[in-house]
């Protein structure tokens, strides 16, 4: 108790009034940087690195020109991009104290739900002996892992951006950054991947995105404290 008294306010350090004077004097010199721009620049930079890594490691899918005219190519691109939009909406909210990310969650659930629906329709209408390949594809051994690998630069950039913000729920904020990174990575990976089955994409792209989200949730409390 004796020691507590020594640290009582005003005995050392700076008086609150002096601090307020100093902080107020600090603002005209330093314009407020836009939080949204930091987010946009960071996630874009991470995505560019990830896309370059994809081109260097995997290259475009061999049947690229033909694939452009297939529905599965575009669905495979739009599904993760939709999740990325939802993730960015959540990131923007969760980085601000006192804000809820309900709209981001709503969009995310709608996108994932639509994709699951499309995949189910394809499964139900398929002949029995095709179901196995619709679910497991032919790239199962590396699909999810590569999505997570390509997500790492985006995750790093996203965490950097989130650190400039003020998240108050660190695990949740980390998870949102992770899901966004995983979703952007999956849409980049989609250009290299020649799987066409929607159930495969839903399951294993979904797994890559979800696991990157888990990684973000684990890192959040460590990286995002302020």
């Amino acid at each position: 108790m004796r020691d507590r008294v020594r640290f009582a306010a005003g005995q050392e350090g700076i008086s609150t009034d002096a601090l307020i004077d100093a902080l107020a004097g600090d603002i005209s010199s330093a314009p407020v940087p836009s939080v949204r721009r930091t987010l946009a620049v960071s996630f874009a930079a991470g995505s560019v690195i990830s896309a370059l890594a994809m081109l260097a490691l995997l290259g475009l899918r061999p049947d690229m020109a033909a694939a452009l005219f297939t529905a599965s190519f575009w669905i495979k691109l739009i599904f993760p991009l939709g999740l990325a939009v939802a993730g960015l909406m959540a990131v923007d909210r969760l980085g601000r104290p006192g804000a809820e990310a309900d709209r981001g969650y709503g969009v995310g659930i709608a996108v994932a739900g639509s994709m699951a629906l499309l995949a189910s329709v394809q499964l139900i209408t398929a002949p029995r002996d095709a179901i196995r390949s619709l679910l497991l594809g032919h790239t199962l051994d590396h699909c999810t892992a590569l999505i997570m690998l390509l997500a790492l630069p985006i995750l790093a950039a996203g965490m950097y951006a989130m650190r400039q913000m003020a998240p108050t729920r660190l695990r949740l904020a980390g998870a949102a950054v992770g899901v966004t990174a995983g979703a952007l990575s999956a849409s980049i990976y989609a250009i290299a991947c020649n799987e066409t089955a929607l159930p495969f994409v839903t399951l294993w792209y979904g797994a890559g995105i979800a696991l990157t989200g888990v990684l973000g949730a684990l890192l959040g409390p460590r990286l995002l404290r302020w």
Binding site: L19, A24, I27, S34, M165, W226
Partner: protein
């Protein structure tokens, strides 16, 4: 949580566009609100005023995260709550101890034995990355507050406040491990 003072929203918006006078009025009002907020939750805690200052610095540094479309009070109290929880987590079971001990410990470093350095690293580990950086550069490498300020973009006064807190947190840890 009720809005303590609706004009705070407009003061904050003015402050975000660089209105120093509005910002000054706002911070004064927030300091009063914070003092009450923390006093109700901490009782007669000698650190309450430090927490007020910490929170004001946090508000200053994170002011870009305030969205003018949304209520200021929600933003403000979320930061206050975050800082309160942080404070409780850091100090709940750690009695503070004499600060001179830790000052000596960091400042002199006559016998840089491995174990002492490990202890120091462990103490530094408990700090936020930014505080750790400031303690390192100012207390260990001996850079001036002005130099650190230029490099980090924080105002000198914010650095002095952070340094003061960091040293106190470390001394609290030393006291804790000895008891």
């Amino acid at each position: 949580m009720s809005v303590p003072n609706p004009p705070l929203d407009s003061l904050m918006i003015a402050a975000q566009s660089g209105d120093e006078a509005a910002y000054h009025v706002l911070l004064k009002a927030l300091a009063v609100t914070l003092r009450g907020y923390f006093a109700r939750r901490l009782g007669r805690d000698a650190n309450a005023e430090d927490l007020v200052q910490d929170t004001l610095i946090a508000i200053h540094e994170r002011r870009a995260t305030y969205d003018p479309q949304r209520p200021f009070a929600a933003w403000f109290f979320a930061i206050a709550r975050y800082k309160l929880i942080d404070h409780l987590r850091a100090t709940r079971r750690s009695p503070t101890c004499a600060m001179d001990e830790i000052e000596d410990f960091i400042g002199v470093d006559e016998e840089p034995s491995a174990s002492a350095r490990l202890d120091l690293e462990r103490l530094l580990d408990g700090l936020s990355p930014r505080s750790r950086d400031i303690v390192r550069t100012v207390k260990i490498e001996g850079q001036s507050v002005a130099e650190v300020s230029q490099r980090s973009g924080l105002s000198p006064i914010a650095i002095r406040v952070l340094l003061h807190r960091a040293v106190k947190a470390m001394s609290a840890k030393v006291g804790n491990s000895r008891s």
